[in-house]
């Protein structure tokens, strides 16, 4: 591994301020001109329990958490102790140090809080440090924090020590502290920061080579998560109504939206359950607002009933599905891509929905905008599918991505004039009108009126209904109305092919092999593609973001072009591969799967090894929690 990059891991107990400290440090790195990618690892516990945040920073674009890491700041789990200084949970206090050693690179740096941690408690620590050429610095961060402020400020001491060891300027860190704090708290933190910095500079001999990389940005960058991307995309589309029930990791979008909606003249509703949440979105949209709801696996299960209702009443809504490991409540704070089929097929009957799966925060923004546009133009539920990794992971994104005009257009809604004309011509407005026997006219779309519009009254019914909205079981009407609703997906596919970005392909055009993926694995696969090509193979990747309607032509062209393709996804049953084969009806013999479902996202090295193992069988996958599954074709 090259060391032109810093992968800094801060570890401690959940609730010890790891998240906020790392956010600030990540921003400081960004302000110094670097590109940044963050990865959160945390247990389903409020306080205590081993947690870490990893920040990867380099001059070049960073697309994944990278392979392992090279700097550990181990703070100790303060919640593992009770007030009498005795451990609550046996030896958990030492975990921020002991649990992280396996992934620390050779030659890596360790700073640990000697006020809380003792390397003697880890049996083979010295031996491992020597074997791996680790450079270990012990510093009483807790003591330092207590001396000048409060114990909780030992994070700041750790950041000061980090800066000293990496030869970083304190300027950006201090600037961020000044933005976030004031008064005595700021004073104390600044003092602790500087004390730690000076103490490391003066009292420790630096034996390591690792230094903070330097870089510069061509344009202003912002540090945002996928959840920010989705929220900001929704806001720019004029979404001013959100309803939800808290569930990790969907809560990220729900809270970001709620934070902004009141001041933007919008409405956020925390309601009794997810059935209500999706139903509220339907009610708000029916009355003429742009509305969104969402959840994670278990909560989305409750939404399957209103999802079908939105489809048959043709009420536009956007639902967000933030996947976490399942089944059932599974692993609340761990990413997985196991809800793909759940999202594609949930609900009764032949129901249609549109599904987008963005691959990074910028795509989260763009595709949420697309989801709203499609949902409102075609009166169909649209789902933005992403996962826990993308939900909370932050990444530097050019500010320009967000510099787009708002689009508050409600889509296919009639005007007063339309209604007057309709009443004059036909005696009344035909909400669910069709123009031919196939019912496929207007791309399946029949414009809607809003309650309060004169001449536009109609019944939106979850039962099958005729042109004016009356419940009908007439076989001819049923067939035509079904055809009309089913025609939407083809029209949407055409629309997307003509008017939106295509599925990104990465790597040499004439590559021999392919890697196919969807959603948050995009960046890690692109990094793996670079590594594989550097090692002499020839491979390209495609990250599919339009899950439904599926971009058949594009994916077919990609797969026809390669000898064989590896479908990489974070689930145990190869759901995406099944979807691809089902949609294309071929390529069974060409598609191999690389699956990971241990609760952690892929690292590039795993994708590289998976690829090599498939090709020549020489790579040993036993050290990873990944599995290769053979092609199912002949």
């Amino acid at each position: 591994m090259t060391d032109d990059e810093l992968i800094w891991r801060i570890a401690g107990g959940s609730g010890d301020g790891i998240d906020s400290t790392s956010q600030n440090f990540a921003k400081a790195l960004m302000r110094s001109g670097l590109n940044v990618f963050t990865h959160r690892h945390y247990p389903s516990r409020i306080r205590g329990g081993h947690t870490y945040v990893e920040i990867r920073a380099k001059d070049e674009p960073v697309k994944s958490r990278g392979d392992n890491y090279n700097f550990l700041l181990a703070l100790g789990d303060s919640f593992a102790r009770n007030p009498q200084e005795e451990a609550y949970y046996g030896n958990e206090e030492i975990k921020p140090l002991s649990e992280n050693l396996d992934e620390l690179r050779e030659g890596g740096v360790i700073v640990y809080d000697a006020g809380l941690l003792d390397t003697d408690e880890i049996e083979d620590f010295d031996q491992r440090a020597e074997e791996n050429d680790w450079h270990v610095y012990d510093l009483d961060l807790r003591g330092l924090a207590k001396e000048h402020g409060r114990e909780v400020m030992r994070n700041t001491a750790g950041v000061g020590a980090t800066a000293a060891l990496l030869d970083m300027d304190l300027e950006h860190i201090e600037g961020l502290m000044e933005d976030a704090m004031s008064g005595d708290v700021l004073e104390a933190n600044l003092q602790i920061l500087e004390e730690a910095y000076e103490s490391v500079k003066d009292d420790y001999e630096h034996t390591h080579d690792l230094r903070a990389p330097t870089g510069s940005h061509d344009e202003e960058q912002v540090l945002v998560s996928g959840s920010h991307g989705i929220s900001y995309g929704a806001l720019d589309e004029g979404c001013r109504f959100i309803s939800g029930y808290p569930m990790t990791p969907w809560t990220d979008v729900f809270t970001i939206m709620t934070q902004h909606l009141p001041e933007m003249g919008g409405i956020s509703e925390q309601v009794e359950d997810e059935i209500a949440a999706a139903s509220l979105a339907i009610g708000a949209s029916h009355a003429g607002a742009k509305a969104m709801s969402g959840s994670s696996g278990g909560g989305f299960a409750l939404m399957s009933e209103p999802l079908g209702l939105a489809e048959i009443t043709e009420t536009p809504i956007v639902l967000v599905e933030a996947m976490r490991a399942g089944p059932s409540t599974g692993m609340p704070t761990k990413p997985e891509q196991g809800d793909l089929e759940h999202v594609l097929y949930t609900s009764q009957g032949d129901s249609n929905r549109v599904v987008f799966a963005p691959g990074d925060p910028a795509e989260c923004y763009e595709q949420t905008r697309k989801a709203f546009e499609i949902a409102y133009n075609y009166q169909i539920p649209a789902i933005v599918l992403y996962d826990q990794k993308l939900s909370g992971g932050h990444q530097t994104v050019p500010e320009g991505v967000f510099d787009e005009e708002p689009n508050p257009d409600l889509g296919s809604v009639v005007t007063e004039q339309d209604l007057e004309d309709a009443v004059q011509e036909a005696g009344r407005f035909k909400r669910y009108m069709y123009d031919d026997e196939e019912g496929s006219g207007f791309g399946g779309v029949s414009r809607r009126s809003l309650p309060g519009q004169k001449g536009g009254n109609f019944l939106a019914s979850g039962n099958e209904h005729n042109e004016v909205g009356h419940i009908s079981e007439d076989p001819d009407n049923r067939t035509i109305q079904m055809n009309r609703r089913m025609a939407k997906l083809d029209a949407i596919r055409e629309d997307l092919d003509e008017n939106s970005d295509h599925q990104p392909v990465y790597g040499p055009e004439d590559a021999e092999y392919g890697i196919l993926s969807f959603g948050s694995t995009k960046g890690v696969i692109e990094e793996a593609v670079d590594q594989i090509n550097e090692s002499g193979h020839s491979v390209k990747s495609m990250n599919v973001s339009d899950i439904m309607p599926f971009p058949k032509d594009e994916v077919t062209a990609f797969l026809e072009d390669v000898d064989e393709a590896l479908v990489v996804e974070m689930n145990a049953s190869a759901q995406f591969r099944r979807h691809v084969q089902g949609q294309l009806g071929r390529f069974g013999e060409k598609l191999y799967s690389l699956l990971k479902y241990d609760g952690n996202p892929f690292e590039p090295e795993e994708v590289v090894s998976g690829f090599e193992s498939r090709l020549g069988g020489e790579a040993d996958l036993s050290e990873y929690n990944v599995r290769i599954e053979s092609a199912t074709g002949d």
């Binding site: 900001y232 509220l280 005009e405 809003l450 309060g452 519009q453 419940i471």
Partner: protein, 311 residues
């Protein structure tokens, strides 16, 4: 701006305007109490002064759910138990609409019980009509949450072991600011109560006793009604929670003993509606959200302006 040009239209309103071109006989049996609800609702509308087009009627499913089919207005025929969440969001998005939600006792007190409790708690400004016939009708006569203890049906062949739900008390303890009970065979009172419920600024719950001549021949709905306001035997203050609660419990006990008490049971005219509460905390715009999409001069805020905190 006149995006919703039917709203606030001042004119003489005829109850026949609320009659669509299709006939309720399509679903409802002869002698069904649901006809009484439909009639009372149509009669109440001119009194409230609302046109079909500024009215949104959201229903669940079942026989009661068909109300939106036989009542001409903007309608939303949703799913079993879900009329309230659909209705309350429509009201939030456009508070100028007259929003009515309706469903049956299974719909409202069973599958939708959770929504009932929370909509009442929040005191949304809407009217909620529950068709209470103590039976599941459209699925052919199963025991419902208001069926009396011991009620026998195909799903409870040995008689129900459950106490029936107490809808009036439940509405009160959940936070409804208007609670009444009326009956299909008492059309004048029903009309008056529905009009009052619609004019009430808050969540108005009307437990509407309806007879089911097909599946629930034993129900009490055929016995004479007593209006607690008209009778000298019942003296209580409908604005006093304690007195209202006692009276409700008496009415709920009496129902299964053969005495049907109807009328107004509780009214709190002072409690702000949810919309007012939300506006007071700055959580909701003063102007209807739905209007904004038609306002060409409105300046939509951009996410770009939020990026400072991410730099």
């Amino acid at each position: 701006m006149s995006a919703f040009n039917a709203i606030g239209e001042e004119r003489e309103i005829d109850r026949d305007e609320f009659t669509p071109e299709i006939e309720p006989q399509a679903t409802w049996c002869p002698g069904c109490g649901d006809f009484g609800v439909l009639k009372a609702l149509k009669q109440a509308m001119p009194e409230v002064g609302r046109t079909p087009e500024e009215t949104l009627l959201v229903t669940g499913i079942g026989c009661s759910g068909k109300l939106s089919s036989y009542f001409r207005s903007y309608g939303f025929h949703s799913i079993h138990g879900r009329s309230l969440p659909v209705a309350r969001a429509a009201k939030l998005a456009n508070p100028d609409l007259e929003v009515i939600a309706a469903g049956g006792d299974g719909d409202g007190y069973g599958i939708g019980g959770n929504h009932f409790m929370h909509t009442a708690r929040e005191n949304h400004d809407m009217t909620y009509i529950v068709f209470d016939n103590e039976i599941f009708g459209l699925t052919k006569g199963q025991t419902s949450p208001t069926s009396p203890k011991g009620h026998k049906s195909k799903t409870q062949p040995h008689g129900s072991a459950k106490q029936p739900i107490r809808p009036l008390s439940l509405a009160l303890t959940s936070g409804a600011s208007y609670v009444a009970r009326t009956a299909a065979v008492n059309p004048n009172q029903a009309k008056e109560i529905l009009a009052e419920a619609m004019e009430h600024d808050g969540f108005a719950h009307v437990d509407f006793l309806t007879q089911c001549p097909t599946w629930n021949k034993d129900a009490k709905q055929y016995v004479p009604y007593i209006d607690v306001q008209d009778s000298d035997d019942y003296d209580f203050d409908i604005t006093d929670r304690g007195e209202a609660s006692e009276m409700m419990q008496e009415a709920e006990d009496a129902l299964y003993e053969g005495t049907v008490l109807t009328g107004r049971f509780y009214r709190d005219a002072d409690r702000p509606s949810y919309q007012e509460e939300k506006q007071a905390t700055g959580d909701m715009p003063e102007e209807p959200l739905a209007e904004r999409y038609f306002d060409e001069d409105y300046e939509w805020e951009r996410s770009y302006d939020l990026l400072e905190r991410h730099k």
